[in-house]
Symmetry: C2
Subunit: 314 residues, 2 copies
Amino acid sequence: MVSDQVTRRVRRIADEMRYHADPFAYGLKTKRSFTIGVLIPDLCNPVFPPVIRAVERTLGEAGYIAILAESDNHPEQARVVLEKMKARRVDGLILATALRADHLIAECVEEGLPVVLVNRTVDGDGVVCVNCDEFEGMRLTVGHVAELGHRTVAHIAGPQFLSTGHDRYRGFLRAMHERELAADSSLIRFCDAFSEEAGRAALEALLDASARFTAVVAANDLLAVGCYDALERRGLACPRDLSVTGFNDMPFVNRFEPPLTTVHFGLDEMGSHAARALLDLLDGNAPNAESIRLAPRLIVRESTAPPPSGGSPG
Amino acid sequence: MVSDQVTRRVRRIADEMRYHADPFAYGLKTKRSFTIGVLIPDLCNPVFPPVIRAVERTLGEAGYIAILAESDNHPEQARVVLEKMKARRVDGLILATALRADHLIAECVEEGLPVVLVNRTVDGDGVVCVNCDEFEGMRLTVGHVAELGHRTVAHIAGPQFLSTGHDRYRGFLRAMHERELAADSSLIRFCDAFSEEAGRAALEALLDASARFTAVVAANDLLAVGCYDALERRGLACPRDLSVTGFNDMPFVNRFEPPLTTVHFGLDEMGSHAARALLDLLDGNAPNAESIRLAPRLIVRESTAPPPSGGSPG
């Protein structure tokens, strides 16, 4: 029983002495380390820094700090890093690395370690996910190229073991069907990574197959930018010869040559939602921590135009 | 005294059981947490992700894990985060946040906490730094625009409380002198942040002052890209009306419109050098952990050209 006056005095002196609570000592009472593990596939994919920044700020305001690591989409690398994080007694995890069928996540859930997925979902229920409405994103993209007059549309699909790759692929098929356009399987290429190199190789393979198409919908911006490289190597121009769309609206794509038409969603918002959902879980407020699906919008820039009058480049 | 055979058997069983050393338990013996604090000013500046990736990989191979946080170049924010890191018993720090006169670093050194600076230096000796040779970078840049025929060259300088801003400014003055060009103080603007917005505002101020110049040397790529925005707002073209150079060769500037002429140095190399220097310090090998200065090279792209025949835009 301490008077308000004494409490205020202790706080003032603690501030003056720059006293900070020792999370290890405090943790003896609360059993918390106030440390959160954040695992992402690729720090150099520009979509992640804004997400991580928002995660760190939101966690930081609640007194937490983040341990950050990359998995490179390798389950074994993810396992090694997760073990290191658990050994440091993290209170919870924010994962942008989840595979659609992910044993590591099932293990964490079994162990009672709170987990939130960001920009990823897993097959089945029971894990809180914060992601973009991938189907709506593809509906916007396919709708845009259809309205420009494109009838033969290719899809550079992402890895199918990731929810973003799989849901955008299914979203592409559904949106093509809704627009009464044929989704020709010979015009769909699956990449094993979301990278510029994979996008370039996939579009070159499509062009080599002499497939006829006038637009290509890429499953993310890095794949779309790889398409730019494939076109440049063939002496073809975007959008004159081929329209290209991306997904994510990652930083700086508005400055690219040509500026990329892509699907935008709030990367900051995604990160802060994920952090708040995890804080809810840590406070035992499971009911508030439901999965969150962000609404996308299409940003039309200069990589899309009506189809060339002379036909397709392929 | 354990036989080799027994040792091998224990190791095999440990592998099979996916046993990992508990760093806290191990730390009771070694007094190490195998956790390193990494502090950067701005995760969304694309120069940092490749540096951090290399830091994490090099540390990870040695069994360490990184706690990452941003300072936003605010000393108070840096202090709060550093206290959190120390409370989690970090074994050492890698800082990309150092101010030229930084009390926090002096405190860490006094406390015996190993510190390595990356992409930063501090005034005075005693701290291991890994950075680019800023003076040589400016010599290459100024030499390039001088050889294109520019005689009136402006400088958009970075924050002078950061070594990169200060050394590049001094490097600009020295290189102009070496080329026997006048460094007109009315053609130099100091920014308080390395950001696109600061670069845009600085070049607009120079253009408003009707200063006569045909090239602008920006202290980093974000400032240079801000110059693109200023030119676009005035209906001016780069490099037709004004040549622009950057510094860092951050990812994707080769894809910008126009592709940016800039100073390149190994961002991966910088990160792995910094991590190895810190590991050296942790192993008590101070003599091996001297400051490292990376050699820059100029990448000439399409943002520089001979001066317009009609004179300057200003």
